[in-house]
């Protein structure tokens, strides 16, 4: 079902600080939808508005055709997996999971049956009589999700559910979350600042910044055709090059760009461009190939020459920062083939960079500040802060 969950013109301020700003968003039934953005972008506030823990200053929330804006949290068919799990420390795992059924005064037999079912589903039956303090992070995570879905909500909200886990466990839990989603079929609204989590789990992603939606789309759309410098810089790494459109190809599919100090660059038009348009070219580092010798450019490829200014060996790839005139381009090269005795690239070496005209994309929205995201992903872009996330 389309339009399963609809946010209509949602605004929320805490005192002077506007945290969510006239936000519109539509989520389909049964999908995993991620709200992705840096801390302070308002994503957690939006989630809390959805849970009923905050009331929006303006706007409506419609869930499954019903306006739930004024419905108290206790009555909403929406449950939350909290970032710190918020398991009740004085109750056994069984009682924690049974909580929503207990408070709704479900009969004992049904509670027992449902708790057993969920304990089995999450493979935590042997933890049932422990208390939360005796569980590992991953187990607590499972209990938190089990507790949230036992009452069969229409919508499950997940607030950075993996943030407290270490990397390996996080990857394992991601797969588990995906399986759980397939199993229970509940719509997931997933809040995260981790692009990897969002990309691997989501059907759709909304990139949030400064209380607004920057872009909505599938993971591929978000990564491959970002609409703004913020999206391009926040999701993955990229190089920004400022230039003007010099000419159009005959079929109108490609622009030729004039960029200060570089040869003409070809770029695919994701939308019609005119000559003299000022544009920002974004090229992802992994799309750039490097070569130690000047070779004849392949059809459709751009080649620029530069000097290696810095490089970092990361194991699975090496990152090169190459000075090309006034531009410093980053190229990330994966090691599909690695020979110890091969002559490696060193600092100050000349290097030829090339990328296909289809792999760059032109941005019309560009803000200087977004470039800072590339070196410091935790930067507070709008200068606004979400009081809930500050603590």
């Amino acid at each position: 079902m389309k339009d399963f969950l609809v946010f209509e013109g949602i605004s929320k301020s805490f005192g002077e600080i506007s945290v969510v700003n006239d936000l519109n968003l539509t989520i389909n039934q049964g999908e995993v939808f991620s709200l992705l953005g840096p801390s302070g972008c308002g994503k957690t506030t939006l989630l809390r508005i959805c849970a009923g823990l905050e009331h929006p200053d303006r706007g409506r929330i419609i869930l499954n055709g019903r306006d739930i804006t004024d419905l108290p949290a206790t009555k909403r068919p929406v449950n939350t997996v909290f970032q710190n799990y918020a398991l009740f420390p004085h109750m056994t795992i069984r009682k924690n999971i049974a909580f929503s059924l207990t408070v709704s005064r479900t009969d004992k037999k049904t509670i027992e049956r449902e708790v057993d079912r969920v304990l089995d589903l999450f493979q935590i039956a042997d933890q049932a009589y422990k208390i939360p303090a005796e569980l590992s992070g991953g187990q607590k995570q499972r209990v938190a999700i089990a507790r949230a879905i036992i009452n069969k909500p229409l919508l499950l909200l997940l607030d950075e559910p993996l943030a407290a886990l270490d990397l390996k466990l996080r990857q394992k839990m991601l797969i588990e979350l995906d399986n759980i989603h397939d199993e229970v079929g509940i719509t997931f609204l997933y809040v995260t600042h981790d692009q990897g989590e969002a990309m691997s789990l989501s059907d759709h992603i909304a990139v949030m910044n400064g209380g607004r939606i920057e872009q909505t789309g599938t993971p591929v759309q978000i990564y491959e055709s970002p609409k703004s410098s913020f999206t391009a810089a926040f999701i993955g790494d990229t190089n920004f090059l400022e230039g003007t459109v010099k000419s159009q190809s005959e079929d109108g599919k490609y622009s030729t760009l004039e960029i200060n100090g570089l040869p003409d660059i070809r770029c695919y038009n994701d939308q019609p461009r005119k000559e003299k348009d000022r544009v920002f070219l974004s090229v992802r580092p992994e799309k750039i190939r490097i070569s130690r010798h000047e070779t004849a450019p392949k059809e459709g490829a751009n080649v620029v020459q530069g000097i290696v200014e810095d490089l970092v060996y990361l194991g699975h790839q090496t990152k090169y920062w190459v000075r090309c005139g006034e531009w410093l381009l980053m190229a990330a090269v994966s090691h599909t083939h690695f020979m110890e005795d091969e002559k490696t690239v060193a600092k100050e070496d000349p290097l030829w960079l090339s990328w296909h005209g289809d792999d760059g994309f032109m941005l019309h929205k560009y803000r200087e500040i977004d470039e800072a995201l590339l070196t410091n992903p935790d930067i507070d872009v709008e200068g606004s802060a979400d009081p809930e996330e500050e603590t």
Partner: protein
């Protein structure tokens, strides 16, 4: 490691032995001794002190002592629980200020604060005059020397002792748990009884002990603001010591008081050791 931990408990163990166990044993021993007419304790053993405790006169005092102590504890909890909750939810600065306000009265001597109540509640005192003026009480009512007066001043004296442990438990409580409860459908009362109160259980237990035990042994408060009809066991013990010079009898009464405190504590200790988890939570 275990023996080192045991070593660290040694000072408090010595403290307890010196200042609690030995005095308690002394009192128990004295209660079985005979006394001469001058109040000198003699070497002979006797059950006379207990035999002379007649239920007709001490029964009502014991019942009143228990009643007043239980009521004091209950009222202190009823006021202290919301107060400590409100304090814990304030910003840090306001919390500090509230704690200061709680501790401030202790800078004045306890006796003087109790006498102050006598002034306030005096037939010509400010409260009585105001209440009569407002038509709330009749001019011939006495505010002093009632059981109610004793209860009022007991609550006044022990409330800070209830609020402090309650506050320290509430300050450690993770209030996002209440939101989790709300999210899972728990209304306000269910949040309180299923999540909040169990969450600050340790603080409640401490508050009860810290109020109930001293209240049981109250002597000064009923002596100053109470009348003959509101005497507590503490007054009786004092009378036996200072007026009758009959230490064994006072010791016998004290032993009874000690039993009131020790029996429930020991029983609950045994109950708890059967339930490992609850001990861990405390």
């Amino acid at each position: 490691m275990k023996s080192r931990e045991a070593l660290l408990t040694l000072p408090s163990l010595l403290w307890l032995i010196l200042l609690f166990l030995i005095p308690s044993l002394l009192i128990t021993v004295i209660s079985f001794k005979a006394v001469d007419v001058y109040g000198e304790i003699m070497k002979t053993w006797t059950l006379k002190a207990y035999g002379e405790l007649n239920l007709g006169s001490y029964g009502p005092v014991i019942v009143r002592t228990l009643r007043l102590s239980i009521l004091t504890t209950a009222i202190c909890l009823l006021i202290g629980l919301p107060a400590s909750y409100a304090m814990a939810r304030m910003d840090w600065k306001s919390q500090q200020r509230c704690i200061l306000l709680l501790i401030l009265p202790f800078w004045t001597n306890f006796l003087i604060r109790i006498y102050a109540w006598k002034v306030i509640l005096h037939p010509d005192g400010i409260l009585k005059t105001a209440l009569v003026f407002l038509g709330i009480v009749a001019p011939d009512t006495t505010l002093l020397y009632h059981e109610g007066t004793v209860l009022l001043v007991l609550v006044y004296a022990y409330l800070p002792f209830a609020v402090l442990p309650l506050y320290s438990a509430a300050a450690k409580f993770d209030f996002s748990l209440l939101e989790a409860g709300r999210d899972l459908g728990a209304g306000i009362w269910q949040q309180i009884f299923r999540i909040y109160l169990p969450g600050i259980r340790a603080g409640i237990v401490n508050a009860v002990l810290i109020v109930f035990i001293p209240a049981l042994g109250s002597y000064v408060i009923p002596e100053i603001v109470g009348g003959p009809s509101s005497e507590m066991l503490g007054n009786k013990i004092a009378h036996r010591v200072f007026i009758d010079r009959n230490l064994p009898k006072a010791a016998a009464l004290s032993s009874i008081l000690l039993m009131f405190i020790l029996l429930p504590t020991v029983i609950s200790l045994f109950n708890r050791s059967g339930n490992r988890k609850e001990v861990e939570l405390l």
